[in-house]
């Protein structure tokens, strides 16, 4: 394959990674077929005419792991009393949901452990998995209840303690989160504890110290860390550096995190935000070209396209609008942060954006949640609406160059 052809194949997903005939060509056949049949644009029910017409590509294509998972589910259906198997299946489902950003796998995981959760004393493993699933749909209180139950019967459960620390941080409870992080010290690797603590501390007024501590821990590391862990540590580090305005280091660590080679939607989103702030929209476009299935990433792509004046923007805005409206129909509020950004920056509906941002800030309080609420309040010219954010910044001592800029812009406007 020539370099050029390789690049072109790259632009469509995992072609390069797997390089199988099926993976590249079949979806293309399907799309071309639909194109010539003129059906896909109709978006009205139709009757296909040819038996061989491909309608849907399942995620198992070219993914041996997922095929195995299907077999495991069948096995589980035959042995519903096998707890170890149920836990294994659910864990693999959750991993699949994460690596592909496909929430349907979270649903399958929930089904796998459901029989155990309806028992009077659900086993610890099942509760832990439910906590992770609840966290994924932003049911933080439910997740905390499960985690507390897990920890009280299994105090040395690392995953439970770590998940607990992360949720507390997302909710803005930094003191408690830090305590949870420090409780990891006797159970876990230095890198885990330090990343956890640095992540929290950096939000509570000790950004520089946290950066230094995390760098030191990464330098001390033996180099045989779990890739997932390394990716997490590097992402946290890059985000800290982004907030304190050390863009060169942030860039370097984002790139190192990407080089770990594990597909991670969160990292891609964080890096895309970094690039957008730096006005590097064309890089965002090439970074996210193959990530259109993931709502938060499509949002970043559309924001980049807006900066670039791209012709694809209108279509992506339509797609996002449809996706958010479907989420709303099913009562899913886990993407409100993105929805507020979408409503403000791409729809220009300031009032609605402010409403969503306010509701979101009541649930989660990461810097990006604070930021979108500030932006919406400024756009709506309603400084009072931003007061919770200003109070929060004051109370936490959060250092974030972008937030500080917005906050001072707001106070200037007030004067």
């Amino acid at each position: 394959m020539s370099e050029r052809a390789k690049k072109t194949a790259d632009c469509h997903g995992r072609a390069h990674a797997h390089g199988t005939f099926r993976n590249v060509l079949l979806p293309i056949f399907a799309a071309t077929w639909l194109f010539f049949q003129g059906n896909i644009s109709a978006s009205a029910p139709y009757l296909p005419t040819d038996d061989s017409q491909p309608l849907e590509q399942l995620p198992v294509v070219g993914n041996r792991e997922l095929r195995g998972l299907r077999a495991l589910h069948a096995e589980l259906a035959k042995h519903p009393d096998d707890l170890a198997l149920a836990v294994k299946v659910a864990t693999k489902d959750i991993e699949a949901a994460r690596s592909m950003s496909d929430p349907r796998y979270n649903g399958y995981a929930e089904a796998a452990i459901a029989p155990w959760l309806s028992r009077p004393n659900p086993p610890v493993q099942a509760l832990l998995l439910r906590a992770i699933l609840r966290q994924a749909i932003h049911n933080f209180q439910g997740a905390m209840d499960d985690l507390d139950a897990v920890i009280s019967s299994d105090p040395r459960n690392l995953q439970a303690r770590l998940t607990r620390a992360v949720i507390l941080e997302v909710q803005g409870h930094y003191a408690e989160s830090l305590k949870a992080c420090l409780s990891l010290a006797i159970l876990a690797d230095d890198v885990i504890t330090t990343t956890c603590a640095a992540s929290v501390n950096s939000l509570g007024g000790q950004a520089k110290e946290s950066q230094a501590a995390l760098m030191a821990a990464l330098n001390r590391a033996r180099g045989d860390e779990d890739p997932q862990l390394l990716l997490w540590a590097l992402t946290v580090l890059a985000e800290i550096e982004n907030r304190i305005g050390d863009d060169a280091s942030a860039e370097q660590h984002f790139r190192r995190a990407l080089a770990v080679g594990t597909h991670d939607a969160y990292l891609l989103g964080a890096y895309a935000d970094f690039l957008l702030d730096a006005g590097r929209a064309d890089e965002v476009r090439s970074l996210l070209q193959g990530e259109l299935r993931v709502d938060p990433l499509l949002l970043r792509l559309a924001l980049a396209e807006k900066m670039l004046g791209s012709a694809e923007l209108a279509k992506h805005v339509d797609d996002l609008r449809e996706r958010f409206s479907v989420n709303k129909l099913r009562g899913d509020k886990s993407h409100q942060r993105e929805e507020a950004r979408f409503t403000l920056h791409l729809l220009g509906d300031v009032t609605e954006a402010l409403r969503i941002a306010q509701e979101n800030f009541g649930v989660q309080r990461e810097p990006m949640d604070a930021r979108i609420l500030l932006e919406a309040a400024i756009a709506a010219d309603m400084p009072a609406a931003a007061q919770p954010v200003l109070d929060f910044l004051q109370a936490s001592g959060l250092e974030d160059a972008h937030l500080q800029r917005l906050a001072s812009q707001m106070t200037r406007a007030e004067r």
């Binding site: 394959m1 020539s2 050029r4 052809a5 194949a9 469509h12 590249v24 060509l25 079949l26 293309i28 399907a30 799309a31 071309t32 639909l34 194109f35 059906n39 896909i40 644009s41 978006s43 009205a44 029910p45 139709y46 009757l47 296909p48 040819d50 038996d51 017409q53 491909p54 309608l55 849907e56 590509q57 399942l58 198992v60 294509v61 592909m100 929430p103 349907r104 979270n106 649903g107 929930e110 089904a111 459901a114 309806s118 009077p120 259109l292 299935r293 993931v294 709502d295 499509l298 012709a311 694809e312 279509k315 992506h316 797609d319 449809e322 996706r323 479907v326 129909l329 099913r330 009562g331």
Partner: protein, 378 residues
């Protein structure tokens, strides 16, 4: 070959800029839209092929791609799965549905089966009850998004594992009909809910006696027994009305297993109190405290029935009143007989003690069943 790939890739780009929706990764939803037209309900139900494949295994040749041939050869299976997962009732009577058409559509996350069907109700529905039970066992995060065109309004609802039933009235709610329907439900629930009957019986049996000096003595006047009964029934009613309302309006929510177990405990406690009385004079207080628990049990039933949004208060009052009527019928059955038999030697020993012992034993079995999720007696 490389030119071929290049060409197709260019084509792909063309398509994605021109027409195709960008497919999303999202949780599983189905889109059910129903239109009531006289006695007939016309339905269209869009279900993701991916979900149907997960439930039925559509991908016959296992190549990861679902073709039209693989779908249409399974139309019968798809129809029977879908029709068995959806029950439509008009005013309590089932409206049998049959499939009319299978099409394909594309939604934000991929291709969907478009299943069209028609259901014929025995008469023009005033109240429609929908029971949706599709795919939850494979994916509890699945949601059924309903759009119902009924009379003048369009209504929407979301089905989930915790909300599989939904009922609604034609616009211009027929309050009287709703009210009567819920009174019936209330009566029916008391009559079929054996635990409430036993609880009340355990409290009512000693109402014709008083406990003094470690033995039961029959009351002399009917008015005395009647006062006891009134106090017990009133306290029970007030208590369960409180928790029933709080639960229905969403202020409290406890898992049904906990509530059902607590109800069993209340029956045991009431029965044991007859064998070795701890509370003697203030049985109404016992009725009140446990009544709070029974109210939560009623609420679970009521919520499971599906509540009409527009006539929530009417339904609540109707159901409560139905429960009262059911209770009074129990009182009417027990009190006269107990009063007549109160002087006999066997009333305190056989009826009260033996009866209470039986009640306690039955309730113990319930408690074990409910708290441990066992099935000891079916």
């Amino acid at each position: 070959m490389k030119h071929f790939i290049l060409l197709l890739c260019v084509l792909m780009t063309l398509i994605s800029t021109a027409t195709s929706p960008v497919l999303a990764h999202k949780s599983s939803d189905s889109y059910l839209s129903l239109r009531v037209d006289g006695e007939r309900i016309l339905g269209q139900w869009d279900v993701a092929l991916r979900d149907l494949d997960y439930a039925l295994g559509l991908d016959l040749n296992d190549d990861g791609v679902i073709t039209w041939g693989e779908v249409h050869r399974r139309h019968e299976d798809i129809a029977s799965l879908l029709l068995s997962s959806l029950k439509l009732r008009a005013d309590g009577k089932i409206c049998p549905a049959r499939s009319s058409e299978h099409l394909i559509d594309v939604h934000s996350d991929g291709a969907y089966e478009v299943f069209r069907f028609a259901a014929d109700c025995p008469e023009t529905p005033l109240e429609l009850q929908i029971n949706y039970d599709f795919f939850f066992n494979f994916d509890p995060q699945h949601r059924g998004l309903l759009r119902l065109d009924f009379g003048k309004d369009v209504q929407t609802a979301v089905f989930s594992p915790l909300q599989r039933n939904w009922r609604t009235q034609r616009d211009g709610v027929d309050f009287l009909r709703t009210f009567v329907a819920y009174v019936n439900e209330g009566i029916w629930h008391i009559w079929t809910g054996f635990d409430h009957i036993l609880f009340l019986s355990a409290l009512l049996l000693p109402a014709v006696l008083t406990y003094s000096k470690r033995r039961w003595v029959a009351v002399t006047r009917f008015s005395e027994a009647f006062r006891n009964v009134i106090a017990i029934v009133t306290a029970f009613t007030i208590a369960h009305s409180i928790t029933l309302s709080l639960a229905v309006f969403g202020y409290i929510s406890l898992p049904s297993r906990l509530v059902e177990s607590a109800i069993a405990i209340s029956v045991i406690a009431a029965a044991l109190n007859n064998l070795r009385p701890i509370v003697q004079r203030r049985l109404w207080a016992v009725a009140f405290i446990f009544g709070l628990v029974h109210g939560l049990g009623f609420a679970n039933v009521l919520i499971e029935l599906g509540l009409p949004k527009k006539a929530l208060a009417i339904a609540l009052i109707g159901f409560n009143l139905g429960v009262e009527v059911g209770q009074l019928a129990i009182v009417g059955a027990i009190l006269p007989a107990a009063y007549l038999l109160r002087f006999s030697w066997f009333y305190p020993r056989i009826v009260l003690s033996g009866g209470s012992l039986c009640i306690a034993m039955i309730a113990t079995v319930w408690l074990l069943e409910r708290s441990l999720n066992l099935s000891l007696i079916s």
